[in-house]
């Protein structure tokens, strides 16, 4: 420890303010002479304002200011500096600026010569003002640097405004908000704003202006605040200039909008509006402030776009309809961009597009239905008849495809329309969700307008899934099918389509007309992706059956080879085993009792034995009317016997085989011997005894009709130009296309199925909820069914009624508020 006696000096604050540099030796020891120190600073600040600072020493000035602050003279110093700034601004800066504020700037007549003069004067004024400001800001910055210590202390003591802020605020107060000229009643700020607005107006009308100069002015306004605490919102730019600018712009665009609608077409309007928007964007970036961009854009949008866009869209001749029809992508895109700006739901454009698609769609519907429903005119019928006499074969095919043509036609038209609008959506509407949805709805609307669209669609698919769609390449068919499937999702009544497709597919598979099973399967996968599992489950069942049958046949053949019986029979047997519930085939009782020829009967029995040995407990029902047979018949023509290969329906074989044992048989004898239903006998006999090319039997008397008393005998003179030929069943109706009656039947079947589905849905819902009001039950049911079809409200009511009858449900007690209870 160091004792007191050591003679150490006290530790004490150094006498800061009596430093010993020669410069300051004049100061008395403890009192700092404020006036004198201030004089030093004052002189220096004057020099700074005279832009003559390079010889000033920062250290010296800082030290002087520091000294004053330490001696608690900070506030005096602050006031003095403020006074100095006011003096400089009043006497130097303002005078300089005022000198250029000539009254000519404000003259508003549009005389050309004076306008050029005015513009020059304005620019000169603006230049001087911005220059003054920049210089003032720099000078204030330097003074602030020197007074850094004072600012630091004052902020910690609660006075928040720095010297710099005050200096800038003074610039606003003493310069900008002073009157511009003794003769004029406007302030310098107002004058400046006036000039800027004039210049912008000039630029809008297409003249080149000095953008950097405007930018400098705007930056000045942005750096100045209305208040001392420098809040963002009190920037002079925001409080004073921007509102004026927006007002002026609003006025300008209101006029331009009116003019454009009156004089220009939609295309011009759109491109002008978009150009204007771009111009304003550029202006904000290059001469004003980026913060203004959204505001001015909204002005343009309101005044130019919102106010007129609906009119423009509907402009006759040049509006959206015209653009759509003529694929004017650019115009549409312009239009889209504009509408998008003012209405994110795009209502006007959406409506216009919707309307146009509906129009076009309905045209397609009408024309397709005309071809399909209107019975072929007499003339055409006759013409076809004569044709069919001329060349036997193609005629029926052509006649049958009458409806198919309509279907294909319809589908193709729809697809064409869709492709077109898809392209428009992609290119012009940038795949906008709202627009895509609108397109979808439009297509749905008109497709469902046509009650036959499910049938058409199924026919279309059938056509291309059959091997007969041969004039198109595989890839083409593929895309066509793809497109077909896309249309499927627009359908409201998917269950109807399901019924049709099911039926068509069953036929394709049984007749072996399908291109290949792979294609069928792919098709199903595609549908499954769009429509769900439920939709395709039945169809998959069809394919499965076909495959199983094939395996079974092979198994059977192997089995027979093993037994050694296959050789003796000489019958190549190809059964198709169909699960009853999966296949859309109604089996008339009469068709089951056919008596087969002995050889066939043998095969049948042996197969039945084989099958039942594999699957016990099943029952096989034979459907002779669905089968096909290929027979060989040998005719002795002189020395050389001719063997024909005849293929035809099973009944055809059954009847022909009779004549191996009988010379002549009457119609009723045939019917008795075979037990085939009479109408089928007639039909078969028509094709083998009447049809000119395949007259395998002789008929007595020769006529075009079959009568029960007719007698048939073997036609030994039969000739055919080909060794292999096919006996076609004569029928007046197409296999594929339904008659009105059949269609009704299909409809009824679909209705029944719908009924069942609704039943199931209602029961499911009620089982879960136990009690529901009528309204809730309806909504829920409709919700569930929507994916398959649009249920009819009346039908649901009927179904509920019947469920109540069947005691699944009971009515709630309160009759005013109908509800149902589930009965377990």
């Amino acid at each position: 420890m160091i004792g007191a006696g050591r003679g150490r000096g006290r530790i004490r604050a150094p006498r800061r303010l009596t430093m010993n540099l020669p410069l300051r030796q004049a100061f008395t020891k403890d009192e700092v002479d404020f006036e004198q120190t201030w004089e030093v600073l004052h002189k220096a600040f004057r020099e700074i304002h005279a832009r003559n600072a390079s010889n000033l020493s920062f250290e010296e000035l800082f030290r002087n200011a520091y000294k004053l602050v330490l001696k608690k003279k900070g506030d005096f110093l602050f006031e003095k500096v403020k006074q100095l700034e006011i003096d400089v601004l009043d006497n130097n800066v303002r005078t300089q600026v005022r000198r250029l504020a000539t009254p000519t700037i404000l003259i508003t007549d549009t005389n050309d010569s004076s306008s050029i003069e005015r513009r020059a004067a304005g620019e000169k004024f603006m230049l001087q003002l911005t220059k003054s400001f920049q210089e003032h800001a720099t000078e204030a910055g330097m003074i602030t640097d020197v007074l850094m210590y004072m600012d630091r202390i004052s902020t910690s003591e609660g006075r928040k405004t720095s010297v710099y802020t005050v200096a800038l605020a003074l610039f606003r107060e003493r310069v900008l908000q002073a009157t511009a000229n003794d003769e004029l009643a406007v302030t310098i700020l107002e004058l400046l704003e006036h000039i800027i607005l004039e210049t912008i107006a000039l630029e809008r009308s297409g003249e080149m202006v000095d953008r950097p100069l405007i930018k400098a002015s705007c930056r000045m306004l942005e750096n100045l605040y209305e208040s001392l605490n420098e809040q963002e919102s009190t920037r002079l730019y925001l409080t004073s200039f921007e509102p004026k600018f927006l007002d002026a712009s609003r006025e300008y665009y209101r006029n331009e909008g009116k003019m454009l609608v009156q004089e220009a077409d939609a295309t011009t309007f759109c491109s002008t509006a978009r150009r204007r928007l771009k111009e304003e964007e550029d202006r904000c970036q290059q001469s004003l402030s980026t913060n203004t961009e959204p505001k001015i854009k909204s002005v343009v949008e309101q005044e130019l776009v919102s106010a007129h866009i609906t009119d423009v869209i509907n402009l006759p001749g040049t509006g959206v309809k015209n653009m759509l029809d003529n694929d004017k992508m650019e115009d549409l895109q312009n239009m889209y961009e504009l509408v998008k700006r003012v209405d994110s739901r795009l209502k006007p454009l959406r409506d216009a597009v919707h309307k146009r698609i509906l129009e076009l769609g309905n045209e397609i519907n009408t024309s397709a239905n005309q071809i399909a429903t209107e019975p072929p005119s007499k003339a055409r019928q006759e013409k076809k008849d004569t044709e069919s006499k001329g060349k036997d074969k193609p005629a029926p095919a052509k006649q049958l495809s009458q409806q198919t043509v309509a279907a294909i036609n319809w589908v193709e038209e729809v697809l064409k329309l869709k492709t077109k609008y898809d392209k428009i959506s992609e290119r012009a509407f940038r795949s906008d969700n709202v627009m895509e949805k609108a397109l979808e709805v439009s297509f749905q609307d008109f497709i469902n307008e046509n009650s036959r669209s499910p049938e058409f669609l199924s026919l279309f698919l059938d056509q291309y899934l059959k091997s007969s769609g041969k004039d198109k390449s595989e890839a083409e068919v593929d895309t066509l099918l793809d497109n077909g499937v896309t249309l499927v999702q627009y359908l409201a009544d998917k269950d109807v389509l399901e019924t049709y497709y099911h039926k068509h597919m069953a036929k394709r598979l049984l007749m072996g007309k399908s291109i290949s099973r792979d294609v069928e399967r792919q098709m199903l996968v595609k549908m499954k992706m769009r429509l769900g599992n439920q939709f395709t489950s039945k169809m998959e069942g069809l394919l499965r059956d076909v495959e199983l049958s094939e395996n079974l046949t092979n198994g059977y053949r192997e089995h027979m080879t093993k037994l050694g019986e296959g050789v003796t029979h000489k019958i190549d047997f190809e059964p198709s085993i169909l699960t009853t519930t999966v296949w859309p085939i109604t089996i008339p009782e009469s068709d089951r009792a056919c008596i087969f020829p002995k050889e066939v009967e043998l095969v049948k029995e042996s197969f039945e034995k084989y099958y039942l040995s594999k699957h016990t407990g099943r029952k096989l029902t034979w459907l002779p009317h669905m089968g096909d047979v290929t027979m060989r018949a040998t005719y002795e023509k002189g020395a050389k016997p001719i063997t024909y290969e005849i293929s035809g329906p099973t009944y055809c074989m059954v009847i022909l085989m009779l004549f191996n044992e009988h010379e002549r048989l009457t119609f009723s004898e045939i019917q008795q011997l075979t037990n085939i239903p009479p109408d089928k006998v007639t039909q078969t006999l028509l094709s083998i005894a009447v049809a000119p090319k395949t007259r395998l039997l002789k008929k007595e008397p020769m006529s075009r009709d079959i009568n029960p008393t007719d007698v048939f005998s073997y036609n030994e003179k039969f000739e055919h130009s080909f060794r292999k030929f096919k006996v076609a069943l004569v029928s007046e109706q197409s296999n594929k296309v339904e008659t009105a009656e059949q269609r009704k039947e299909t409809q009824k079947k679909a209705d029944d199925e719908r009924g069942l589905a609704i039943d199931a849905a209602v029961v499911r819902i009620m089982k879960a909820r136990k009690t529901l009001t009528h309204q809730q039950l309806m909504t829920e049911t409709i919700d569930i069914m929507k994916s398959r079809f649009h249920p009819d409200v009346a039908m649901i009511k009927r179904k509920i009624e019947s469920l109540i009858e069947r005691e699944y449900l009971e009515r709630g007690a309160d009759s005013a508020n109908p509800s149902y209870n589930y009965l377990a």
Partner: protein, 657 residues
């Protein structure tokens, strides 16, 4: 190690074991090495007792603040265990570590006496406490990219000529022997060209290392840069060998272990700073010119000089020759007797200036400095970034006078160049003012810490303090300095100082003066406003006396007694009985907390107080006579007397409070 989930006990043991192994292998450094030195023992002792002064002295002596004693205690654990808030704060501010997820860190937190201390510990995380060099390192790194003001004096262009490196010769010379040699031979060089065989990125990495930047995780090679990562790495290797710096590529690749990486980085920075420090000493200080003040401004330094200085700072000796001479003598004297109890440590870098100089001629000292380092102070930053004279290029180096003594300037420069801030109480106030002027908050805080700890005003464990303090400190000046430089800590310190010696000061006219000044500090004073300094003094006064009352549960008795004070104190014997019966229990013998000091200190403090009391009031004398044997009673009386005196003072000053 610092994954956020809590470690299970077995995991903790495993990681402790691994850590120990690594430490034994010498890979990791022990965070808390065993330290049996006398200094450290004293530090621990002081931490235990909450003796700020000794703590500060020992820290300045260089005791390892993070070491442990033979019972595995660190000073921080001791201080937080014994509940000395200010001591904990001082230790943390001086770099004591309390890191969660380490054994010692968790122990420290767990042992904290109360939540206040615990929260204080938690608020000092790794980045705050352990890396005091970080600001300096960050500044150096920023120099690599700084455009304004321009401080670089060497341009190194890479092969492709774009983005040349703008460098500082003095940093290169300080950090790399290679550059030093090269620059020594040709100090006037202003541009180099990098051979194209060296990838620019490699050179960039090496530079970043020289400028104390963190090594990058990405090498920046790959397509488009002209070099692959491995080429860059090879380049780095070559450069580091060339520049005689550590093997950088190893450091880059071995960045995975966070603790290791951190340790390496700390070592690197430490080493770098010590290099800078050495350079500063050997060049800036070494080349400082002492000259007569009148001629100081005529000194001409060439722009091109061996130590790459670009500015001269001038400091003049104090006018008051007597005092200055005394300080110098005192300084030299102190170095000789550095082991004595006061032990004001001299910054090792402060050279003893020759005291033998003529008294009639004032001297100045000129320090050749580098703007790049000076701009760490906002003052210099603004200066060099302005349009004033100082920012302009002149054929000879500019001389900038700095308003302080050379000794203070040296401390400031040492701080700017190497973050060092060791200085004694004797110039602490000068440093406080200078750093306030130059906006060096950290140095200012440091000065305040030194004043408030070394000139300690607490009554704990200092027998001879009262006499000594009287001589050492002009507390009035310190309080005024605190007001002027707005250092709250010093205001509190002064208030406490007054409170603990109020009997000495209360009657001085200077005290009345300072109370008046304090009252005047609140502008537009209302009647209800208080006088800050008196409030503080009263607070510490109550602390000073209550400390004792609380020890013995005397609080309630005191309250009763206050009312009874002006009445005859008949029941004193009773209280005395009560006290004496309590007293043995009041002296606990807890081993961890040394409670033996307060009573001991009491005995020593009594006499002066008694004297003071005897001097003034007649009542005291009678009271003294009655209760002479009971110091508690006496304390209570003294407390009241002092409060009364304050009131009298206020009346005299016509102030309300």
């Amino acid at each position: 190690m610092s994954n956020h989930s809590l470690l299970r006990k077995d995991q903790l043991e495993v990681s402790l074991h691994n850590e120990k192994k690594l430490i034994e292998e010498g890979v990791l450094k022990e965070d808390n090495p065993l330290d049996l030195t006398e200094d450290f023992r004293r530090l621990c002792e002081a931490s235990r007792r909450g003796d700020l002064k000794v703590c500060q002295e020992m820290i300045q002596e260089g005791a390892n603040i993070n070491a442990k004693d033979q019972y595995d205690y660190t000073p921080l654990i001791l201080a937080s265990l014994c509940g000395h808030y200010e001591t904990v704060q001082l230790l943390l501010e001086s770099g004591a570590l309390c890191e969660r997820d380490t054994f010692q860190g968790e122990r420290c937190l767990y042992n904290a006496l109360n939540d206040r201390i615990r929260n204080l510990l938690l608020s000092y995380d790794y980045s705050k406490s352990t890396d005091p060099l970080q600001p300096l390192a960050a500044h150096l790194t920023s120099l690599l990219y700084r455009q304004q003001p321009r401080t670089c004096d060497l341009t190194v262009a890479a092969g492709n000529d774009k983005d040349p490196f703008e460098l500082h010769k003095f940093i290169l010379a300080a950090r790399s022997p290679y550059f030093k040699k090269k620059l020594d031979t040709a100090p006037e060089t202003t541009a180099w060209k990098l051979p194209s065989s060296i990838p620019q990125q490699s050179f960039g990495i090496a530079l970043k290392h020289l400028y104390l930047g963190e090594l990058p995780r990405e090498l920046g090679g790959g397509p488009g840069t002209g070099f692959s990562d491995s080429e860059i790495l090879a380049g780095v290797d070559r450069i580091s060998k060339h520049l005689e710096i550590k093997n950088l590529s190893e450091l880059i690749l071995d960045n995975s272990d966070r603790r290791l990486a951190r340790q390496r980085r700390q070592d690197d920075v430490q080493f770098g700073v010590s290099q800078l420090d050495a350079w500063f000493r050997n060049n800036v200080l070494y080349h400082a010119i002492e000259i007569e003040t009148s001629k100081a401004n005529d000194v001409k330094w060439d722009r091109v000089n061996g130590i790459f200085a670009d500015i001269l700072l001038r400091a003049d000796d104090d006018e008051d020759e007597d005092e200055d001479g005394d300080i110098v003598q005192k300084l030299t004297g102190d170095t000789n007797v550095s082991t004595n109890a006061l032990g004001i440590p001299l910054g090792t870098g402060t050279p003893s200036r020759s005291p033998s100089r003529s008294r009639s001629v004032r001297k100045s000292k000129l320090y050749p400095c580098h703007k790049a380092m000076l701009i760490r102070s906002e003052f210099f930053m603004t200066m060099f970034d302005s349009h004033f004279k100082e920012a302009q290029d002149t054929p000879h180096l500019q001389i900038i006078p700095i308003d302080c003594s050379p000794a203070v300037l040296e401390i400031i420069l040492a701080f700017l160049y190497s973050e060092r801030s060791d200085f004694g109480l004797d110039i602490a106030i000068d440093v406080l003012f200078a750093s306030d002027m130059l906006f060096l908050e950290k140095l200012k805080t440091k000065a305040a810490v030194i004043i408030s700890t070394l000139g300690n005003g607490t009554a704990t464990g200092m027998q001879d303090q009262l006499q000594r303090d009287d001589v050492d400190l002009d507390i009035y000046e310190i309080l005024r300095a605190a007001w002027t430089t707005r250092v709250q800590r010093l205001e509190e310190f002064a208030a406490r100082y007054f409170a603990y010696r109020l009997e000495q000061y209360i009657d001085e006219p200077a005290f009345a003066e300072i109370v008046k000044e304090s009252a005047g500090r609140i502008q537009a004073r209302q009647e209800t406003d208080t006088i800050e300094i008196l409030d503080d003094i009263k607070y510490y006064l109550s602390e000073r006396f209550r400390l004792r009352f609380e020890d013995t549960g005397f609080d309630e008795a005191l309250a009763a007694e206050e009312q009874a004070q002006h009445v005859e104190l008949q029941n004193i014997p009773n209280i005395g009985d009560f006290e004496t019966s309590k007293k043995p229990a009041g002296v606990p013998t807890d081993e961890g907390v040394d409670m033996s000091s307060p009573p001991r200190e009491l005995e020593h403090e009594v006499p002066p107080q008694q004297e003071v009391s005897l001097e003034h009031e007649g009542i005291i004398r009678t009271l003294d006579g009655e209760v002479a044997g009971d110091e508690f009673e006496q304390d209570a009386m003294n407390y009241q007397i002092l409060l009364g005196k304050i009131d009298t003072l206020l009346d005299q000053l016509k102030l309300d409070a």
